[in-house]
Assembly symmetry: C2
Homo-oligomer: 420 residues x 2
């Protein structure tokens, strides 16, 4: 049986998951794949894991993986941007296969590797939605299809925080602390709660689904830190969950991609994806609406996707993605979300006529209201909450900037889009 020599970069969470799987399944996997799998070398800053059972040589030098001609596949699990980029780049130049879970590098620098992605030399199933085989699903399972939209919950931290705010009626800050305590959020949570991580993943989904260059700079992101537990409560009364979504839509020859918190109707399965779970919903011309969900992060779940890529290499299979250098060129525009339904919350001094003034201003701008209620609160304050019918974003913005000046307003107006 021909063997495959693996060079593993990193000994963090995902790498440890990979070693655990490898330790338990080396024999079975080699049989399944018809190739002897061997971890030849591991490179990391420090040797915090016992490598004896793997018979692997340890090195603190990443370059030792690249320079070793015996290594066939480099598995990059060090994370971060520059070192990982350097390693991936160097390994590809030495004609090695590369498997990575690094969404940042692929989203931001994938265009440097389009040839290697097209040939299957560079693979990254683990970079999007953890254990869910979504890139293969789009690239192989749905190869016949064009996609009108892809909607994902692809950041487990944000989903955990919003779910916790819903279940525990907790604030954003409390829920973030809880997520950090449980290891679901970094000390610096900006990447997650500001939507950057989800934007990396959406960039990759968009490039592969549409066979287009990676366009991270065109993804518009809106974080979740302005969502309050009252919003979640009110949305629930209106029949919606609030979910951190990442959406790419195609309209004619243009793509537009955006990460934002959205109201998702309880009748949609997506609204039921809670905690750190991820999900991706794909709207297609032939296969209809396909939905995938599962663990989006975690040591073993992410490593499971890494092994999947390794399996494709072991089976000598080419790329499972559509060509990124396809002939059909789509433009990628900033999303204008030209019309959408919106959730609006106005916190006001409960004075006579304020309800009429606000709804009147909306009406004057041609924005009609689907549902509205007023909640009176202590101290003569009230919250006026509504869902609009589809309205042009520009019209709504103009109108809200006008209403925002009303003296009765106690806080900036809250506006959250409804997922269409």
């Amino acid at each position: 049986m021909e063997s495959i020599n693996i060079g593993l970069a990193g000994l963090g969470t995902v790498a440890q998951g990979f070693l655990e799987i490898f330790g338990q399944k080396k024999r079975v996997l080699s049989d399944k794949l018809g190739r002897e799998l061997k971890i030849a070398k591991v490179a990391s800053r420090s040797q915090k894991v016992d490598l004896e059972e793997f018979g692997a040589i340890f090195s603190t030098e990443l370059s030792s993986l690249v320079e070793d001609p015996a290594i066939d596949v480099v598995i990059e699990l060090i994370g971060g941007e520059q070192d990982a980029l350097g390693l991936i780049s160097a390994a590809l130049k030495k004609n090695k296969h590369v498997v990575t879970a690094n969404k940042e590098v692929i989203a931001k620098h994938g265009n440097s590797f389009r040839g290697e992605i097209d040939s299957g030399q560079l693979r990254f199933e683990a970079a999007v939605a953890g254990a869910i085989p979504i890139l293969q699903g789009i690239g192989v399972g749905m190869v016949a299809n064009d996609f009108s939209s892809i909607t994902g919950i692809v950041n487990g931290t944000s989903n955990y925080i919003l779910s916790n705010m819903s279940i525990e009626a907790a604030s954003f800050e409390e829920s973030l602390k809880q997520a950090q305590k449980l290891g679901f959020a970094e000390a610096d949570p900006g990447f997650d709660v500001d939507g950057i991580d989800a934007a990396h993943k959406l960039t990759i989904l968009m490039a592969l689904a549409y066979g287009q260059p990676f366009s991270f700079d065109k993804v518009v992101t809106e974080g979740i830190s302005h969502i309050t537990s009252s919003d979640i409560q009110y949305a629930s009364e209106l029949g919606f969950a609030i979910k951190p979504v990442a959406v790419v839509r195609r309209s004619e020859d243009t793509l537009a991609a955006m990460v934002y918190p959205a109201l998702v109707g309880f009748d949609r399965i997506l609204s039921r994806v809670n905690g750190v779970m991820n999900a991706v919903e794909v709207e297609s011309d032939y296969a209809g609406r396909l939905f995938f969900s599962g663990p989006g992060a975690g040591s073993l779940a992410t490593a499971s996707a890494v092994v999947s890529d390794l399996g494709l290499i072991a089976r000598n299979q080419g790329s499972v993605y559509p060509s990124l250098m396809g002939t059909e060129k789509l433009g990628v525009s900033y999303p204008d979300q030209s019309t959408s339904c919106c959730y609006l919350r106005f916190d006001v001094v409960d004075e006579k006529g304020i309800f009429a003034r606000i709804t009147g201003a909306l009406s004057d701008s041609g924005i009609s209201i689907d549902e509205v209620f007023q909640k009176n609160r202590d101290g003569g304050r009230a919250s006026i909450v509504m869902i609009t019918h589809p309205a042009r974003e520009k019209d709504l913005e103009d109108c809200l900037s006008n209403v925002g000046k009303f003296g009765e307003l106690l806080q900036p107006i809250q506006r959250i889009r409804v997922l269409s």
Copy 2:
């Protein structure tokens, strides 16, 4: 660009979907896959579709596909058992690739083709759960994983009927008629509502997920025709939907597979899969619980999965399934479902003491009750409805056969398992 010559067998619903996709996407697909795709020949009983745009030769003889040395891939979409089996068999012997959507042939005769399945010469993604790429998902995406259970809603007709009974408060018979009217059920609905079709699909899932021979004869099936709209109403009050599930479970070195209607808690995404939609939930050691849903039938959706298999052939990719001749041998036993929670409905003459007699008999048999209520109905009748705690099936059966003799019982006792 090297070309692939396709021989298409059948001109029914799925074949027409295939031709529609082919007509629209031939150019794009050939580019994506790097091979010129060509429908060389179509064989069917009658030429009910205009084939001119495809430049395909028409024949009424299936054998003409097999005998033509220019044909590389036979796509079998005639359905049924014997003719399809003969065609698949003959085409494989002539070293052609075969793609089929025929779950019956694979479930019942797959063991004759284990070598061809292992080599990727015979593929059947469309045979299970329509457009959902579940076989690839298990075989490639989850290659690292062992599966503790796989639970599917894989028969759209049954799911439509139970969903309709729930939404419209309609009877089984009315809902079946509605399904037939909409083209979701055959004139002879036995295959669907008796669980046979789901058992075919479960047989395939079980074989591929565990790398074992096909064991259709070991799948126990229970149909849905005994479910009443009252059961659906009562289950709903207790927090459950009733869904037609197909389940394979592994316990140690034994597999057990069963198709049955089950109560599924509203907290599970599976309970939200309605109408003709299909879903598969996979419990694994590393990837955790992965969930896939989408259209399980329909012309274009099924054809989308056929094209996916064709794409793998065009890309010269080997099998995407684990070997069916793996070294690890699991036994396949008849499921004893040794302990399960059950929903029970006793329709009785509402006489004093009957509630106590029934609950007393259960208690005497060591069966404890989780929830129970009594609904009084017209004419001095009552329904006593309950969910048991986990109980040994044998104990419950013995007890129910005893209670079944009570003079107050107006109908046989209804027993529906709760999905664990």
